[in-house]
Amino acid sequence: MIRRLRARHRWMVLLLSLTTALLFWIAIAGRAR
């Protein structure tokens, strides 16, 4: 059970980091110049 939990956490962190990185890039790329 703990093994599955660890695997799930790994994928959740990966998904969250990719989402944050994408939205961060959109924010910076879309800055008014």
Partner: protein, 345 residues
């Protein structure tokens, strides 16, 4: 570890830790306000304080979240992990201060209720430069407040460790929201590239460290030790385990920790009952297996916490044959005493 609840179990280490934290934090806030007022002629004491509190909260949250994976990579970071909860509550207080002052400074001068103003305002979700970044900060603050309110061990015991841990994993969502709060807020009005690089660096540090440690552990979870006979699994050689330390292995689908101590070997689950900490990365102190995360203790032969504590973890039957440690892959019920295997002299 304590037999009863107190707001904070103060000891010398916690006094030093919190004293150092308060000193560094006040120095940072003072320096930030001083430098901002000196270098930016348009800045007022109020706006400088709001920025100091907000940036302080984000820096402290970055450090707090980096401690966990750093402690997995190098045991020298473990002492900082010990009192991490106080860092988390401090982040929440800084965020609350930032939000309160921002509400007063930017939303209390008009005819509209400040709370209505902050949630509606003149923002437009369709335009990046005027995106309602306050919503993101508010979302993060709600999560941090909820976590700070339930941070005490009373709530850990009441909610149960799995539920508490799952709820507190929301801190990563809060971190992501705070990064975007700054990216869609302050970074939209500044032309200075330094804050952009600092924020990107902090984000890469937190998520990068977690992904690195998570993926480093993947092979261990995938290398199941095969049973050799009647459910017995060969784990390692006795001499591969250091005295008062453990060897972690994958047996029966879960991680186990084989401890060597005083000429004997015992085997328990690798998962601490408190917060799923890795017991096998700890050591035996005063005859007890001691979790490296928060110091929860268990007797190696029975998996029971010493009285008056009641925590129990599963044990495993263990034997030594030709200098190799064999473990039975079926766990015994938590707290079951198992005769330790004696190491032949």
């Amino acid at each position: 570890m304590s037999a009863f609840y107190r707001a904070v179990n103060w000891n010398r280490q916690k006094f030093i830790y919190d004293g150092l934290l308060a000193g560094l934090l006040l120095s940072y806030l003072g320096l930030f306000v001083g430098i901002t007022l000196t270098r930016d002629p348009n800045a007022t004491l109020e706006t400088a304080s709001i920025r100091a509190l907000g940036s302080g909260a984000l820096i402290l949250l970055t450090i707090t979240l980096a401690i966990g994976p750093l402690a997995r990579l190098n045991s020298r970071f473990l002492p900082i992990l010990y009192n991490r909860r106080h860092l988390g509550v401090t982040v929440c207080l800084l965020g609350l201060g930032h939000a309160t002052f921002a509400l007063i400074q930017f939303h209390s001068q008009g005819n509209v209720n400040p709370f209505v103003s902050v949630l509606t305002g003149s923002a437009d979700v369709r335009k990046i430069s005027v995106f309602p970044f306050e919503w993101l900060g508010l979302g993060a603050l709600i999560i941090l407040l909820f976590m700070a309110a339930t941070s005490h061990d009373f709530w850990l015991a009441t909610l149960s460790a799995p539920v508490w841990k799952a709820l507190h994993m929301l801190v990563y969502v809060a971190f992501g929201l705070l990064v975007l709060h700054v990216a869609y807020g302050n970074l939209q009005v500044t032309t200075n590239p330094l804050p952009v690089f600092l924020l990107a660096g902090a984000t890469a540090l937190v998520f990068g460290l977690h992904l690195l440690t998570g993926w480093r552990e993947r092979p261990l979870d995938r290398t199941e030790q095969p049973a050799i006979a009647d459910g017995w699994v060969e784990v390692c050689g006795v001499n591969e385990i250091r005295e008062h330390r453990a060897r972690i292995a994958m047996v029966g689908g879960e991680r186990i920790a084989v401890f060597r101590y005083d000429g004997k070997v015992s085997c328990v689950s690798n998962v601490c009952q408190h917060q799923n900490g890795p017991l096998g990365e700890g050591k035996i102190v005063d005859g007890c297996i001691t979790c490296p995360w928060h110091g929860y203790q268990y007797l190696p032969d029975s998996g029971q916490s010493p009285p008056p504590f009641t925590e129990k973890i599963p044990t495993f039957n263990v034997r030594i044959r030709d200098g190799r440690v064999l473990v039975h892959q079926s766990p015994n019920p938590p707290g079951t005493r198992v005769e330790p295997a004696t190491i032949p002299s």
